[in-house]
């Protein structure tokens, strides 16, 4: 067998590591295939693993637990009887701009109750980015955290999703989400309606609704970084955030 060239060598090693993870019943480590062909090898390997006789039997405990979780989910109101069976095929970035469009539309008095995908044109202007950057976990997913109706203009609502704790902020113009973790020493911030600021219970720091530091902690002279922003999107009246 002739020695492989370097890019092929990398693909061989990545595939072998992927197979090792599958065989060890580990969740496969994430990496990026360099080509569509390489992805197909991963899919083929996953399929070889999944095709072993009787290996696809589910864990009864998992099935029972999931059923309990489903039974515990409160049934949402179903005002509109038409829900598209197709799933929105919109990139995250486009969704971000569309969130802005949606909130602007609501503020302008447009009737609610339609999906974000109905907007024919994305909102102009740059997408929302925070000076602190966005919390961008590469391996995240969208978590549903609240109904849009529960976060009317001017309101701030705490949420937790996965490992993330944050606040949804409806400015009346757009829906933002920021981390609820103080950038000083990690205490969880609470929202003060009266002061319209996030306050830290530990050392007295305060942050603007947009995440910028308003007051520093007591006896700490350095300015604090702003609260990281969290990506949000709205679909069919539900607010989702992107995190792990």
């Amino acid at each position: 067998m002739s020695p492989a060239s370097s890019p092929l060598r990398g693909a061989i090693e990545r595939l072998s590591g992927y197979v090792d993870d599958l065989l060890a019943e580990r969740r496969p480590r994430r990496f990026l295939a360099r080509s569509a062909d390489e992805l197909r090898l991963l899919q083929a390997a996953a399929h070889l693993r999944g095709a072993r006789p009787s290996a696809d039997r589910p864990d009864p405990d998992f099935l029972a637990d999931l059923r309990q979780r489903l039974a515990a989910v409160p049934l949402p109101e179903r005002a509109s009887a038409h829900i598209s069976p197709t799933v929105e095929r919109v990139s995250r970035r486009r969704l971000l701009t569309r969130v802005t469009a949606l909130i602007a539309g609501l503020a302008a008095g447009v009737a609610a109750g339609f999906g974000v995908g109905r907007f024919s044109s994305p909102a102009p202007g740059p997408s929302q980015t925070s000076p602190a950057g966005v919390v961008p976990p590469a391996n995240g997913r969208w978590y549903r955290v609240a109904a849009l109706d529960d976060v009317p203009a001017g309101k701030v609502v705490r949420f937790s999703a996965g490992t993330l704790v944050g606040h949804l902020v409806n400015t009346g113009e757009r829906l933002d989400a920021v981390s609820a973790v103080c950038t000083h020493l990690g205490c969880i911030l609470r929202w003060s309606k009266r002061e319209r600021e996030f306050q830290c219970p530990c050392h007295g720091a305060a942050f603007e609704p947009g995440g910028a530091m308003k007051y520093g902690p007591r006896s700490y002279r350095q300015p604090l970084p702003p609260l990281p922003a969290i990506e949000t999107y709205v679909e069919k009246g539900q607010i989702y955030v992107w995190t792990t």
């Binding site: 090792d20 019943e25 197909r40 090898l41 999944g50 006789p53 979780r69 179903r78 069919k236 539900q238």
Partner: protein
Amino acid sequence: MPDGQPFPRPAPQPADASPLERLYDAVGEKLYRFFYRQVGSREEAEDLTSEVFLKAASLLDTSRDESAQRAWLREVARTALADYWRRFYRAPREFAEETFRPPRSLRDGPTEASRADQLPDLLARLPKNYRQVLELRFLQGCSVRETAAALGLSPGNVKVLQYRAIHRAAELGFAPEPGEGRESDEPGF
């Protein structure tokens, strides 16, 4: 009922099961099996199954009939699977859906508990050295080192052989087959 019931007692069904719970009871296990055969990992299959049903918990239109609910769930499942593979290759979702088709031998419905001949069938179509390395790895779960010892090769050569064998398996049974309908990719309900 006399002693020695001839049939297992059916699982008790609470009378107040919601439409979502009824849907889950009908197809939850099938969906898990579908995902498992696609991603080859119990944890990942459990996550995907949970993701689809939790999405259904908020978005399923329970006013529609059951076949419409199932069709909706299949679509969500396919999207979730495409998104899963996009974690390994940043391509448009449509691409990830298009690239992947289960091999013909694995496409039958997931209702049977055991399809003991599937993987051996696939392996039987491969050249001997490819079949050996895949049998040792995927059927017997040998490490690269153990496989190398069994075949009298270096670990590096085992990795190369394994790469080529999976490549051939993909060509034989896993490649997209033009002209086929999409229904065979479905979760089987």
